[in-house]
């Protein structure tokens, strides 16, 4: 520890602290622009100059290391004179038209200028004008306002992992820009808006939508990925105008992914379902709630009467709230059925009979920083979990060794030390090889029940991965969405558990969606021999209650889902949005509130239950989903549906607001016969901006690069063997058939074709896994 005195106040700070950090600790505010606690030190703005004893010149607090016994004055005459001088320089070329600037009211320069600026400018020359840049659909520029603090440049390089912005030219001509004609395409790009201390980088969707002081600010939780980023949602007249990060060091730190930040646009989409509707004689009619609810309740009653309770199935989106999921399963079970599930993209449920508890990440999110070995199995890590990937990126810079197994090797902007790029059908055997090699490295025996099926040969990649893991002290094995959606997901988990056991580490799940853990906690899975999501589709039910999902886009096999639901007598769909596949399959559409208009809870990948309140009144006649489910249950005279508020619902699920039985343990898994794969295999990702009904309808995100129409991606070798070149139109056939543009992409394992799921252009292809054939059209 070092002793330092700041403005006469003595404090102790750890070795290696800077004066800025010490001042923050001491509660002294030092004005600054370029300094940011999460970015490298640039010391270029010079706003933080302070007086240091014995130093002849003022020193920048952000970059000056504390030495023992140092005395610092942040507001002495020398310091303030220096700060004022810098402020004058910052303002000479900066427009002084705050009233028309989009940053007005929340501008660090404006705030500080009040305290440090002079009222009248001594600069009488012409001001500099800098041309604006096109950074893409999300970030708007007003580059004349830029003060060249380079925070944005450092963010793209250091946090987002790719230098998408630079400071070109020099001296007064220095300009922040992307490479000529490029845009900023990172899935984290919106953070540069928050980082920019002036109005140079602002939100394109929000541009001039409102002034900061007109907005009310409420806390919320992101409904998208499994990290559960904390949000500040800003509304004006019950319309969400902007979403900002709510700092939570344990989860999102001070960042948001663009999906978290910009999906709010969909909340005011004209595709919102705002009034209940009933299909009669093939025609959709708008009805009042009473009619719709009675229709639904009577319908269910009739199905139970005519076909028995097992003819009813409940299917929910993993983006639904804990409360909704709980009441759905309670409703289904109240009717006497055990057919309920929220794992709509999964197909292997063998683990259900042998799991020890609720699958989760196996560790706190923040503990990523302490890992030194990580194996990622079957994941599109960067796009599936942008902020978790960001943590891994930072840890990798400090020495975390990352390895990966799976059919995809797209750029994560993380150094991946070893990778086994194998087709989906080979993932189990590859992971088994890693088990063998880890056991050998560690000199330990493999669990007996597994030992029989292990391979004798170990590939070089598998051995390299094993050596990396075996040499670690803090080891984790993560199963990504592709592993979870895999037809042999249970075996993958078993092997991952075994690797973790051998290495003394943890195995866990990254999680597909905001409530992938919460769905289990809510009991929205079959318990007593009921049908799981796949079985409910393969063995069509007479009636379904569908919560928050679109049949064509949110299931493992959209074609099969549409067929099963379409053939049912009754489909009651609770949804915030209207959608074609809902109109096609449902009989009654009940408009329920998206996350912004209801209270609820998401349980994130680390098992933290995060509750939130509505930030706006429900749009039109929309109602909170949990209330709708409760009323249907009431109409059916079911017991246990007297909850007065969502907290009461939550209290039925969580003990002390916590999820009790997180446990990735897994017993024996019943083997299934697997035929050797022949031909090409499908690799299906769920693209970041198509992953759920909300983000699909966010117009600005839909203009981003990541929202491009899916292509048929294959390695050069695969393409060559098929006589296909980039740009060719190809017919891809599986259980269904679609036409796509092919592209050579060596990040795809050989003998595979990567075709994204969750997109209208690829739905026709059918299941996310399996064999395909490809031919030029």
């Amino acid at each position: 520890m070092l002793e330092i005195e700041i403005d006469g106040k003595p404090i102790q700070v750890p070795d290696g602290s800077t004066v800025m950090e010490a001042a923050t600790e001491a509660g002294a505010y030092i004005p600054h622009f370029c300094y940011h606690k999460k970015l490298s030190i640039a010391a270029n703005c010079r706003m933080c100059l302070v007086q240091v004893e014995k130093a002849p010149k003022p020193l920048p607090a952000c970059a000056t290391p504390v030495t023992n016994g140092m005395k610092v004055w942040t507001q002495s005459e020398l310091a303030v004179k220096a700060q004022k001088g810098v402020m004058e320089f910052l303002l000479i070329n900066h427009p002084l038209d705050c009233p028309i600037c989009d940053q007005g009211g929340e501008c660090q320069l404006q705030d500080l200028a009040v305290g440090y600026g002079d009222s009248k400018s001594r600069y009488q020359e012409e001001k500099r004008v800098v041309f604006n840049k096109n950074l893409g659909a999300l970030v708007s520029t007003d580059m004349t306002r830029c003060i060249n603090c380079t925070r944005c440049v450092r963010f793209t390089t250091e946090i987002a992992g790719e230098m998408e912005l630079g400071q070109a030219f020099r001296g007064e001509h220095a300009e922040i820009m992307p490479f000529v004609e490029k845009t900023v395409d990172s899935e984290l790009s919106g953070n540069i808006i928050d980082l920019c201390p002036v109005g140079a980088l602002t939100s394109k969707p929000f541009r001039f939508a409102a002034r900061t002081w007109e907005l009310s600010r409420r806390k919320s939780v992101s409904p998208h990925d499994a990290l559960g980023a904390n949000l500040i949602v800003q509304t004006k007249h019950d319309v969400v105008k902007r979403v900002l990060p709510l700092e939570n060091e344990a989860l999102n730190e001070c960042w948001l992914s663009d999906k978290d930040r910009f999906s709010y646009e969909a909340l005011s989409s004209d595709q919102r379902l705002t009034r209940p509707m009933v299909k009669q004689g093939g025609e959709w009619k708008t009805v009042d709630w009473q009619t719709a609810l009675e229709f639904a309740a009577n319908g269910l009653k009739g199905i139970v009467r005519d076909h028995g309770p097992a003819a009813i199935g409940g299917l929910a989106s993993p983006h639904a709230t804990l409360e909704e999921l709980h009441l759905l399963q309670k409703l289904v079970r109240g009717l006497g059925s055990d057919n309920v599930d929220f794992r709509l993209r999964q197909v292997d449920f063998r683990a259900d009979t042998s799991r020890a508890g609720i699958p989760w990440l196996g560790m706190p999110v923040a503990a990523v920083a302490d890992l030194n070995r990580l194996l990622v199995v079957g994941s599109f890590l960067r796009k599936d979990a942008p902020l978790l990937a960001q943590r891994v990126r930072q840890a990798a810079k400090r020495g975390l060794h990352v390895s990966a197994v799976g059919p995809n090797a797209e750029e994560w902007l993380i150094k991946v030390r070893h990778r086994a790029l194998v087709a989906p059908a080979d993932m189990v055997s590859t992971l088994a090889q890693v088990v063998v090699a880890v056991a050998a490295e560690k000199g330990l025996a493999v669990t007996e029940s597994l030992a029989a099926g292990l391979p004798a040969q170990v590939s070089d990649e598998a051995r390299a991965i094993a050596q990396s893991l075996a040499s670690g002290q803090k080891v984790a094995v993560w199963l990504g969405s592709l592993a979870v959606q895999h037809p042999r997901a249970a075996e993958l988990q078993q092997l991952a558990n075994e690797i973790a056991r051998l290495c003394g580490g943890v195995a866990g799940f990254i999680g597909e969606a905001a409530n992938s853990v919460g769905g289990y906690a809510a009991g929205a899975t079959p318990r007593a021999g009921g049908l799981d999501a796949r079985a409910m589709i393969e063995q069509p039910r007479k009636a379904y209650v569908l919560l928050g999902a679109e049949p064509a886009l949110d299931f493992a096999d959209g074609v099969a889902a549409v067929a099963a639901l379409g053939s049912a007598q009754l489909v009651i769909a609770l949804s915030a949005f209207d959608a074609e596949s809902l109109r096609e399959t449902a009989n009654v559409l009940l408009p329920i509130a998206p996350f912004s208009e209801t209270s609820g809870t998401f349980v994130n990948c680390e098992g933290t239950a995060q509750s939130f309140n509505a930030v706006a009144r429900p749009l039109g006649e929309t109602r909170p989903g949990w209330k709708v489910l409760r009323v249907i249950a009431n109409l059916l005279d079911l017991t246990g549906f007297a909850q007065g508020d969502s907290e009461a619902v939550r209290a039925e699920v969580l003990v002390d607001g916590k999820v009790a039985d997180l446990d990735n343990g897994l017993g024996a898994v019943e083997a299934v016969p697997t035929a050797a794969a022949v031909g090409l295999q499908r690799v299906a990702d769920v693209p970041i901006y198509f992953a759920d009904p909300l983000v699909r309808r966010a117009p600005s995100l839909q203009k981003a690069k990541d929202a491009a129409v899916p292509l048929a991606r294959m390695s050069a070798a695969t393409a060559a063997s098929l006589g296909i070149q980039s740009g060719d139109r190809v017919r891809v056939s599986g259980s269904g058939r679609v036409e796509l543009t092919a592209v050579v992409d060596d990040s795809v394992a050989n003998a595979c074709v990567r075709v994204a799921a969750a997109h209208v252009s690829t739905v026709g292809l059918g299941p996310m896994f399996g064999e395909l054939s490809v031919e030029r059209v």
Partner: protein, 439 residues
């Protein structure tokens, strides 16, 4: 070109730069001796300290002391960099050293690498002198072929790889940390210090940077001993130094003289004032050192202490002589434009302030000056100096302050009368195309 001194002694234009000529002049004897005798590094550094060789790049920092800052037992790579980015207006000595005596720099660097345990070095050569860069590459090839640099130098277990890195037009890369950034393949924006290059330099490794002339002096110090070198100059100002004289003299060029030589003698060597005109002002150490009135300068001796006492700096030893035909406002305008143009753009006071200074001086020169402009200039320079990441901010400010201080009347006249004290035709006559009789 003069043929006296040490570094330039015995070199004869373009004919004697080759290895064999250098060896004939006694070159590489120092390196051979050190390697043969396995001279302890501490002995070399002690000799250097005794010589009171002060860095020839501008700051005049004692070289022996700088070398002693390099961590002895650092486990990884350590680097050496030679600063041949000479771009300070008025300075053109390193070009001649590399042109006429490149091997003395190579030998000096090899000795430095030996003394500090550096396995690799780079010579950063100013962009506009591509031909010199090519010559230095040739000299490196010669030295490499002769086993004087590279692996196992002269059969010993000492290895030192030396390469040339060519700049491409940025004055700021002469600042040592900008130079390192530039070698790393980035734009040349100086780093904040601390950490200093001795602990965090090229590629984040301990690095020592010296000027070309500094390295070139090392073999001579090793040969004549630290004291011998010191005695050539005067206490605290050891050795000889190259002075680049430009401007209104009869024979502009480089003159290597003992430190402490009177300025008047140097002026005489340079053929005296052109056309016998009266000396008006002298910038004694490169464009960023404060200008001095001619008569003050005539009383100085050419060494760090004397010039500093007179209120300026010896800097890089670039002496810009201006006679009575010079318009001091126009002279300052050109220099201010230079600093404005060359500011790297990184830190606020320099990026914004240099343009402000230039625009105000430009206005004055063009008859648009305002009564409080001189106060404004002084205040703006005050807000730049000492507040920037590197010394370019100071370098841009000192000329402004000193021109106003010594030639304030001329500025005031400009502001008041919207024209120059020195009639345009006189200015024209003084600064016409002029070719020195020595060429």
């Amino acid at each position: 070109m003069s043929a006296h001194g040490l570094i330039l002694a015995g070199v004869d234009g373009d004919r004697t730069w080759r290895l064999q000529d250098y060896v004939a002049r006694g070159g590489y004897a120092a390196l051979r001796k050190i390697i043969a005798e396995k001279t302890p590094p501490e002995t070399i550094i002690a000799e250097l300290k005794a010589s009171v060789l002060r860095g020839r790049g501008g700051a005049g920092f004692p070289t022996g002391l700088k070398w002693s800052f390099m961590p002895r037992s650092f486990p990884g790579d350590k680097y050496l960099a030679c600063n041949s980015d000479e771009g300070e207006p008025g300075t053109f000595k390193d070009r001649d050293i590399l042109r006429y005596n490149p091997h003395t720099v190579i030998e000096g660097m090899a000795i430095a690498a030996y003394a500090m345990g550096c396995a690799r070095g780079y010579n950063y050569i100013h962009g506009e002198i591509f031909e010199i860069y090519q010559r230095f590459e040739e000299a490196l090839d010669e030295a490499r072929a002769a086993g004087l640099i590279g692996q196992n130098i002269l059969g010993s277990d000492f290895s030192f790889e030396l390469f040339a890195h060519h700049g491409y037009g940025a004055y700021i890369c002469g600042e040592e940390t900008a130079l390192l950034e530039s070698i790393e393949g980035k734009k040349g924006q100086p780093r904040f210090k601390p950490p200093f290059p001795a602990s965090y330099g090229l590629y984040g490794k301990p690095t020592t940077i010296n000027n070309t002339e500094t390295f070139a002096s090392v073999p001579f110090i090793m040969n004549m001993g630290g004291n011998g070198f010191l005695e050539l100059g005067k206490p605290n100002n050891g050795g000889t130094k190259l002075f680049s004289i430009s401007g209104h003299v009869n024979r502009p060029g480089n003159y290597e003289i003992n430190l402490g030589t009177p300025f008047s003698e140097l002026l005489e060597m340079a053929g005296g004032m052109r056309g016998g005109r009266k000396i008006k002002g002298v910038i004694p150490g490169g464009s960023s050192s404060p200008v001095l009135p001619g008569d003050v300068m005539m009383d100085c001796t050419m060494d760090y202490d004397s010039i500093s006492k007179a209120g300026s700096m010896l800097g890089s030893g670039a002496v810009i002589v201006m006679d009575e035909t010079t318009c001091m406002v126009k002279a300052l305008e050109r220099l201010s434009y230079f600093y404005f143009e060359e500011s790297c753009g990184q830190c606020t006071p320099c990026r914004e302030g240099t343009g402000w200074l230039y625009r105000v001086v430009h206005r004055i020169e063009n008859g648009l000056g305002r009564p409080d402009d001189l106060d404004l200039l002084n205040s703006v320079t005050g807000n730049i100096m000492g507040r920037t990441i590197c010394a370019l901010g100071d370098a841009a400010s000192m000329p402004v302050q000193s021109f106003i201080k010594h030639f304030g009347d001329e500025f005031a006249y400009h502001i008041e009368n919207k024209k120059c004290l020195v009639p345009p035709e006189v200015q024209y006559a003084g600064s016409q195309i002029y070719v020195s009789p020595s060429c």
